[in-house]
């Protein structure tokens, strides 16, 4: 019923608008086309100016309304560089935005057609073209230099002594693996995977795998001021480890291992204080469309002090101890051939 009323209303509004439009067209003919044209021209020029002014006010209001909802201060050292680069880019592009839009709307108003106005025949000027090719080019060079410096910094090899953690995406949650006491992530093979007994396909023939710890509740525990290197891959489709608070993001691709590293600056508790939000939590958002549960593929990062972390870790059993009686081993010939292409192989070597 209400649907019917809405439809009727919409149709009514349409008819009214159409009638007004038709009437104005008729009026044009009665009042003389030229006359109306110049009036309309003036009206449109004013409307465009109004649009510009309202637009600028709108931008300001929008900023006021939303600035309080943005991310808190970066929670990683790398993120600080990110934020300052973002500010530089914002100022530069914001300046260009303002100047070009202002010129556009000003010209519209200033050079609107009036009874006696004439256009100025001006077809080209090579000096100007050179000028506005080189100036943007120079500005871009500045941005590229800052950008590439940051880019190579964050994509460089993780520093010695980084804490190693594997993050594996699956529809629709995150599996986290710690290397255990030996500091080595043991080999895995996707053919050993089993949802009940071997979620990440640990190869138990590899001694390094036996002390590996797997966390299945999506909690990534890391240590404040301690570099952490994430080794990322996926069990099924492409996911993406998005860490907005740390200004980091990296795809999780089945069959390919990616990595990222960063240095957390504040523990979760410190961040709760900083933001004044007792519910504050660092979240891992999946940033690559991965199926119907994509929007709920949520993990959390718990940044702790060294001691808290050690205490937490010591309570985590090695995954191997929970595995049911030895799962069927992979066919001897096949497993080693691919083990190296998984995260485990690559990391063991890097270490």
């Amino acid at each position: 019923m209400s649907g019917l009323i809405v439809t009727a209303l919409v149709i009514l509004v349409f008819i009214v608008i159409y009638q007004i439009a038709k009437a104005s067209e008729l009026a044009t003919i009665i009042r003389g086309e030229e006359n109306v044209k110049s009036q309309t021209n003036r009206l449109m020029a004013w409307l465009m100016v109004a649009f510009f002014v309202l637009g600028m006010i709108g931008i300001w209001k929008c900023h006021e309304a939303l600035i309080g909802k943005m991310l808190p201060e970066s929670a990683s050292v790398q993120g600080d560089h990110y934020d300052s680069m973002l500010i530089v880019t914002l100022i530069l592009t914001g300046f260009v935005f303002f100047v070009t839009q202002a010129l556009l709307f000003w010209f519209i108003f200033r050079y609107q057609q009036t009874e006696h106005s004439k256009a100025f025949f001006y077809s080209h000027n090579n000096k100007l073209e050179v000028l506005w090719t080189t100036v943007p080019a120079l500005a871009l060079v500045v941005l590229v230099v800052i950008g590439l410096r940051n880019w190579f910094n964050v994509t460089d090899k993780a520093p010695e002594g980084s804490m190693l953690v594997q993050v594996m995406g699956k529809q629709f949650n995150w599996l986290i693996r710690y290397p255990g006491a030996d500091g080595i992530l043991g080999k895995t093979d996707f053919r050993l995977m089993d949802d009940a007994t071997n979620v990440m396909g640990l190869d138990t023939n590899d001694i390094a795998a036996k002390d590996d710890i797997i966390v299945q509740n999506g909690e990534l525990h890391i240590v404040k001021q301690h570099n952490v290197q994430l080794v990322i891959n996926s069990r099924d489709v492409i996911h993406d480890v998005g860490l907005p608070h740390f200004r980091m993001k990296m795809d999780a691709v089945p069959g390919i291992t990616t990595t990222m590293w960063f240095t957390p600056k504040f523990t979760t508790d410190e961040m709760k204080n900083k933001t004044g939000n007792p519910d504050f939590v660092y979240e891992i958002s999946c940033d690559q469309m991965c199926g119907k549960g994509h929007y709920s593929m949520r993990g959390t990062v718990i940044v702790q002090t060294e001691n808290e972390f050690k205490e937490w870790l010591s309570k985590q059993p090695a995954y191997y101890t929970g595995m049911l009686p030895a799962p069927p081993a992979a066919p001897a010939g096949a497993a080693p051939a691919t083990a190296d292409t998984t995260g485990a192989g690559a990391v063991t070597m890097a270490h």
Binding site: F14, F190, G201
Partner: protein, 609 residues
């Protein structure tokens, strides 16, 4: 094509034209040609253009309606809308979208708007309509191939539409359809039959685009009228030319990507698949690369965004100049920058893949190349601004849309500079910042170019004007709406809010935007109705619009306005006019006009341009 063939063809059409023109004088033109050959299987480029345009409009309504549906979910996640159940049946049981169908709608929205509306609907319409008319040709090089191209598009459309009604739903992996998600039935409902239909439809679409593009290129290169040197072509034609070049060189790569995907889906190959455990079992695929698909896709995907953009750039140039009564500033610089964009468009694709774990060095190269492409874009903006500077500006509806185009292109282009810098993309990738970027720069601004073109050439297409008042309302609601919708999305993007989420309410980091999402969705609905106003205006004006009484209502210099009010197949009744000057001679002609058409010979002592 040899010169001889060209003349032959022209003669053919010419002869046909004469009899047609004759019949016209007696007022029963319809007797000659059967309805079917005249309006359905027509080989007349002008009719094919209208077919593309009307198909595009229908698709645009569908695509926009889908966005209203999914914006309802985003803006009002706790409400139900029984009306949606009427449209979508079990996909919106009780008036609430299921996540599966939310993703299907997002996917279809992207596919429809990028490919069917802003590629086929846009360059299909204006390349067909304007190329022969503005270069002075009787039709395309191959009218038959041209007709085929439309019908391939039509079949592709039918298949895509049919996929909406499949039991498991249409494709749902995003318009980019990355495997393994799109390759494995187990991964998502939409990766079933819907995905097969999507791939078949898109393959036919590619065929259609190749047929069309080759035709456009051949026609522009070979069938220009006497005196129409390349350097006397209107910028619309230059833009449409480069659009076709981009399409012809990049669509085949997309097709190969799709073929490999079909193989992986059905024939057990492992091009994109490796080490996958899904649905409780390990698959046998080893050694493929999921990232390979992304390279193939974006090798088209990036040129594609310029395929969408260039026609609007060309038309805006034309319309800005005409309505400023002033030549386009830096004609040659405009052509050079179009060339630059076209060349660079092929070497920046991997900026869509900065976070796939690609080699950082390679990433660096793509940063350089990507920011390089911002330069020709900037040149164009400055030239447009200088074109209207000291002009004599008529603010009619097409002009307003052309000006809106420039404004939106600036706003959206500047955010490209953030995304192209990989160090910044590291946080912004796949957030609402990207949504804001490409909707402003490509979505809305290409639409503005298209609207400008429709309002401007409508008199030539249908012999009538569109209603002005409705046009003005349409313009202001759409421009204001576009900024209200997309501007705040930059903030959501800075906050890291991911795109393609069905619901944010469980996220501590993103749920604070619920009022904003609510606001945006409301504006979307209003803007949607403003578009219906346009559609209404369009169709009403075809039959009821004010009649065009003069041959050249806008005072343009280009050739299309030298044809009869209702040009028949063959365009000109007598000889095709000869061209003597560049297309932007907006200066005194000595008889009180402020423009000199291309067909007027140079006066004594007058230097060309």
């Amino acid at each position: 094509m040899s010169n001889e063939a060209t003349t032959l063809h022209a003669h053919d059409a010419h002869a046909h034209m004469d009899s047609h023109g004759h019949a016209h004088a007696h007022g029963h033109e319809h007797h000659e040609q059967h309805f079917i050959t005249k309006w359905i299987f027509s080989q007349d480029h002008k009719v094919i253009a209208k077919q593309y345009l009307i198909s595009g409009i229908i698709w645009a309504i569908i695509g926009a309606l889908f966005s209203v549906f999914f914006r309802l979910q985003l803006g009002f996640p706790d409400s139900t809308f029984p009306i949606m159940e009427k449209f979508l049946g079990h996909w919106a049981q009780g008036g609430k979208l299921t996540p599966e169908f939310y993703y299907a709608l997002v996917t279809m929205h992207g596919t429809i708007l990028v490919f069917f509306v802003l590629t086929a609907g846009l360059s299909g319409t204006f390349s067909n309509f304007l190329i022969p008319l503005q270069i002075g040709a009787r039709d395309m090089a191959s009218p038959f191939m041209n007709m085929l191209s439309y019908w391939f598009f039509f079949i592709s459309s039918v298949i895509m539409f049919a996929s909406l009604f499949v039991q498991t739903g249409p494709a749902a992996g995003g318009w980019t359809t990355y495997p393994p998600l799109s390759a494995l039935k187990e991964a998502s409902l939409g990766s079933g039959l819907g995905m097969d239909l999507w791939l078949i439809s898109m393959a036919l679409f590619v065929v259609s685009q190749l047929l069309a593009g080759l035709n456009y290129i051949t026609t522009i290169l070979n069938m220009r009228t006497k005196g129409m040197k390349m350097t006397r072509l209107p910028l619309t034609i230059w833009a449409l030319f480069f659009t076709a070049v981009l399409g012809v060189l990049s669509f085949p790569v997309l097709l190969s990507g799709f073929v490999l995907l079909i193989f992986d889906r059905h024939f057990g190959t492992s091009f994109y698949l490796s080490e996958i455990f899904i649905g409780g079992k390990a698959l046998s695929h080893i050694g493929g690369s999921a990232v390979l698909y992304q390279h193939l896709f974006w090798f088209l995907g990036h040129p594609e965004v310029y395929i969408v953009m260039l026609p609007g750039m060309g038309m805006a140039s034309e319309i800005l100049s005409t309505n400023s009564r002033k030549p386009i500033f830096g004609y040659l610089a405009m052509i050079i920058s179009l060339t630059g964009i076209t060349v660079l468009a092929f070497v920046v694709w991997a900026h869509h893949m900065f976070v796939t774990g690609m080699s950082p060095f390679l990433g660096g190269i793509f940063v350089l190349l990507t920011l390089l492409i911002a330069i020709p874009s900037a040149i164009k903006v400055f030239n447009w601004l200088t074109t209207i500077w000291k002009g004599n500006i008529r603010l009619n509806v097409p002009m307003l849309f052309a000006l809106g185009f420039v404004s939106l292109f600036i706003s959206g282009g500047l955010t490209g500079i953030f995304l192209g810098n990989s160090a910044l993309d590291l946080h912004l990738h796949d957030t609402y910042f990207v949504i804001a970027h490409f909707h402003l720069v490509m979505g809305v601004s290409a639409f503005f170019g298209m609207f400008a073109g429709i309002y401007h050439w409508f008199p030539k297409m249908f012999g009538r004007f569109m209603n002005n008042t409705l046009g003005y309302i349409h313009f202001f609601v759409t421009l204001g709406g576009a900024y209200l919708i997309f501007w705040p999305m930059h903030y959501e993007g800075f906050a890291g809010m991911p795109r393609r989420y069905y619901d944010y309410s469980a996220w501590e980091s993103f749920k604070q935007f619920s009022t904003l999402n609510h606001f945006i969705s409301t504006v979307v609905i209003i803007v949607f109705f403003a578009q219906l106003l346009f559609v209404f205006n369009f169709f009403m004006s075809i039959f009821k619009g004010r009649k065009v009484t003069s041959l050249n209502p806008w005072g343009s210099t280009t050739l299309e306005w030298t044809t009869p009010l209702h040009p028949g197949h063959g365009n000109w009744e007598g000889e095709i006019p000869t061209v003597y000057r560049w297309p932007y001679d907006f200066k005194e002609d000595g008889n009180g006009n402020d423009f000199i058409p291309q067909t007027v010979p140079l006066r004594d002592g007058e230097e060309e341009h």
